[in-house]
C-alpha cells in the first residue's frame, strides 16, 4: 500500500468536516498511511473458508418487542443544546 495522497487526506478531512493546517495534513498523511499498512497485514491471510464477518459479537437476532415508553422530557432533551428556540435545537441556517 503506497502512502495516501495529499488529495485523499484532504478529502477525508473534508468528509469529517475538519480544517487541517498544512503541517497537520502531512502528519495525518503519515499516520493514516501507517494505520492502513497495519490493517493490510490481514491480506496476507488465506480467508477462503471464512465467511464475511460483520460483527465480532457472539450474538445475533437481538431484538425488542414493539412497546413504547416515554423517554426524556423536552427540557432534558435540550439540556446540552448549544442553542435552542421554540422547544427545538437551533442550528446555523441550513438552506432548504
Amino acid at each position: 500500500m503506497p502512502k495516501l495522497s495529499m488529495a485523499e487526506v484532504e478529502n477525508i478531512a473534508h468528509l469529517a468536516r475538519l480544517k487541517l493546517t498544512e503541517d497537520e495534513k502531512r502528519l495525518f498523511q503519515e499516520q493514516l498511511s501507517s494505520i492502513l499498512r497495519y490493517v493490510e497485514m490481514l491480506n496476507t491471510l488465506d480467508t477462503a473458508g471464512v465467511p464475511p464477518t460483520t460483527s465480532a459479537l457472539p450474538l445475533d437476532n437481538v431484538m425488542r418487542p414493539d412497546e413504547a415508553h416515554a423517554g426524556l422530557s423536552p427540557a432534558d432533551a435540550l439540556l446540552n443544546a448549544p442553542d435552542t428556540a421554540a422547544g427545538s435545537f437551533r442550528v446555523k441556517q441550513i438552506l432548504p
Binding site: L15, S55, D60, E67, A68, H69, S88, F89, V91
Partner: protein, 479 residues
C-alpha cells in the same frame, strides 16, 4: 428531432406504523406532536446509548417484501450511512446496504386497463431523520421523527411514463395499507418518493444521463415532475445540449424541477457494517408464518370478485380499493348468501354506503350496523317488501341510530303495498283525478304512464309497489 423514451426507476420511502421507534422505545408518533417530546439518549445520539432492533419493524418489512414477491433473506446486516446534516444527530443513518432484508421482487400494475410488471430491486429497513424548520437566523431541529422505522422500496428501471409511475406508487400505497404496515398518507409524510429518470432514443439501447428528482410528496408531484423532466431533457437533447448528472428537487409552487446538487458535490457515504448491532439471522419458520399471514391483496380480490360474482372491472376496483370496505362488503354478501345477489350488494355498497362514508369521513369500523343488517336491508328491497326509495330511508335510519332494518320498516310503516286490492283502489282514484293524462295515455302517449305511477306513489305515501301500480294502471286504462 429524435423521439425519446423515458427510463424511470423509483425509490419510495414508507414510514412504518409501529408503536415505538426503530432502535429505541420512544413513541414513533410525530405528526402534530410538540417538538422533541419523543426522544431519548439513543435517538438523540448521546454518547454510550446503544440501538436495539424493533422486532415489529422487521416483520412489517418482511411482510411487505412477501407481498411484493421478493426473496426474504434470513441473514441481514445493518450498515452506517455517514453524512453530516443537523436532522441526523449521530452523523450517520443506520440503514441496510449490502445485505438488505428483501430483494428480487415484482409488482404487477395496471395502467389504463393494461397490465405491466415492475421489478422490485430491494426493500430495506432504515431509520428516519428529524425535521428541520427554517426560520430567520437559523434552522430549528425537532427529533421526534429521528429514528422512526422507515422502509425503502427500490424499483428496477422498468417504468416508462408518468402514468405508469403514478400507478406504481398508488398500488404500492394500496398494498402497504392492506398489510396495515403504514398509513401511506403522503400529505403527512408517511410516504415520500424519488424518481431516477433518463432518456433513450426509441431506436437505441443506450440510456442517457440519469437525473434524480427527490422530495416528491404527493401523487401529483410524482406525475408532474416526470412530465416536466421528460420535456426538459428532450428539449435539451434536441437542441444539441447535454443532460447534466444532477440531483433535483420539485418546486411545487413554480411547477418545475430545480437543481439541488451537481455530481461534483455528490455524497460519499462510506457505508460500513453497524458495529453496535449484531446481524439478524431470521428464523425461516417465522418467515413462513409471515407468508401465511399475508391477506388477500387488492388485485387478487378484484379478480375474484369478477370471476365469482361477475362484477364489472370498475365495481371490483372500487370495492377493493380499501381493505376494510372490501371486507365489509364480503361479510354482507356472505350474510345474505341465500337472499341477495352480490351484484345488488355491490350497487348498494358503492352507491349508498360509499357516499355516506365519503360524506361523513367516518371509518368502516364506525358504521353503526353490522354487515348482516345491511344484507337484510338489501333483501327487503330485492324481495319487494319495501321499495328502493324506502330502502334508502331505512338505511338513513340505520346509519344514524344503528337500528335494525325490520324495526325501522315497522316503526315508519314503510312496508310496501303489494296487495292488489289496495293498489287497485288507489289506481281507480288516480285515474278519476287525472282525466287529461289518462286520456293522453289512451291516445298513445306512452310517457304519461310515469306521471300516473308517480301519482299512485304519492297517494300511497311511497308505499305502493311501483311495478304492481304500473301494471294495474295499464290494465285499467286499457279496459
Amino acid at each position: 428531432m429524435t423521439t425519446y423514451e423515458a427510463i424511470i426507476g423509483m425509490e419510495v420511502h414508507i414510514e412504518l406504523q409501529t408503536q415505538s421507534k426503530m432502535f429505541c422505545a420512544c413513541p414513533a408518533s410525530f405528526f402534530g406532536a410538540a417538538p422533541n417530546i419523543n426522544t431519548c439518549p439513543t435517538c438523540l445520539a448521546l454518547p454510550g446509548a446503544l440501538p436495539v432492533i424493533n422486532r415489529q419493524a422487521v416483520a412489517y418489512t418482511a411482510l411487505t417484501g412477501l407481498a411484493l414477491n421478493c426473496r426474504i433473506h434470513r441473514r441481514n446486516v445493518f450498515a452506517r450511512k455517514n453524512y453530516f446534516y443537523p436532522d441526523l444527530p449521530k452523523g450517520y443513518q443506520i440503514s441496510q446496504y449490502e445485505l438488505p432484508l428483501c430483494t428480487d421482487g415484482a409488482l404487477d400494475i395496471t395502467v389504463a386497463g393494461a397490465g405491466k410488471t415492475v421489478g422490485i430491486t430491494r426493500v430495506h429497513l432504515e431509520e428516519d431523520t428529524g425535521k428541520l424548520t427554517h426560520v430567520s437566523g437559523g434552522s430549528l431541529v425537532d427529533l421526534n421523527r429521528a429514528g422512526v422505522p422507515l422502509m425503502e422500496i427500490v424499483s428496477e428501471p422498468d417504468i416508462r411514463s408518468a402514468a405508469e409511475a403514478y400507478a406504481y406508487v398508488s398500488q404500492l400505497r394500496q398494498i402497504v395499507r392492506y398489510l396495515g404496515v403504514s398509513s401511506g398518507d403522503m400529505e403527512k409524510g408517511a410516504m415520500r418518493c424519488e424518481v431516477n429518470l433518463s432518456l433513450k432514443p426509441v431506436d437505441s439501447e443506450v440510456w442517457g444521463t440519469k437525473v434524480e428528482v427527490k422530495n416528491l410528496n404527493s401523487f401529483r408531484a410524482v406525475r408532474n415532475a416526470i412530465t416536466w423532466e421528460i420535456a426538459r431533457q428532450t428539449e435539451t437533447l434536441n437542441a444539441g445540449g447535454q443532460v447534466e448528472q444532477v440531483t433535483m428537487g420539485w418546486d411545487e409552487t413554480r411547477g418545475r424541477t430545480v437543481v439541488q446538487r451537481s455530481k461534483e458535490d455528490a455524497h460519499d457515504y462510506r457505508y460500513f457494517p453497524e458495529p453496535d448491532l449484531p446481524p439478524l439471522n431470521l428464523d425461516p419458520v417465522r418467515i413462513d408464518e409471515l407468508a401465511d399471514s399475508l391477506p388477500e391483496l387488492p388485485a387478487a380480490k378484484a379478480a375474484r370478485y369478477r370471476a365469482t360474482w361477475q362484477l364489472s372491472a370498475q365495481d371490483a376496483a372500487l370495492l377493493t380499493e380499501h381493505r376494510d370496505r372490501a371486507e365489509y362488503f364480503e361479510a354482507a354478501v356472505a350474510a345474505g348468501a341465500d337472499t341477495i345477489s352480490a351484484r345488488a350488494a355491490a350497487n348498494w355498497m358503492t352507491g349508498e354506503i360509499f357516499r355516506r362514508l365519503n360524506e361523513s369521513g367516518i371509518a368502516v369500523a364506525d358504521i353503526k350496523f353490522p354487515p348482516a343488517d345491511f344484507a337484510r336491508l338489501i333483501a327487503l328491497v330485492e324481495t319487494g317488501k319495501i321499495n328502493r326509495q324506502a330502502g334508502k330511508d331505512v338505511l338513513a335510519g340505520m346509519w344514524q341510530f344503528g337500528a335494525q332494518p325490520d324495526a325501522i320498516v315497522a316503526a315508519k310503516g314503510l312496508k310496501q303495498i303489494s296487495d292488489s286490492g289496495a293498489i287497485e283502489k288507489i289506481v281507480t282514484q288516480v285515474i278519476a283525478e287525472n282525466p287529461d293524462p289518462a286520456a293522453q295515455f289512451r291516445a298513445g302517449k306512452e310517457k304519461v304512464i310515469g306521471f300516473l305511477v308517480g301519482q299512485v306513489m304519492r297517494h300511497s305515501r311511497g308505499k305502493a309497489n311501483p311495478k304492481l301500480a304500473e301494471a294495474a294502471l295499464r290494465r285499467k286504462l286499457a279496459s
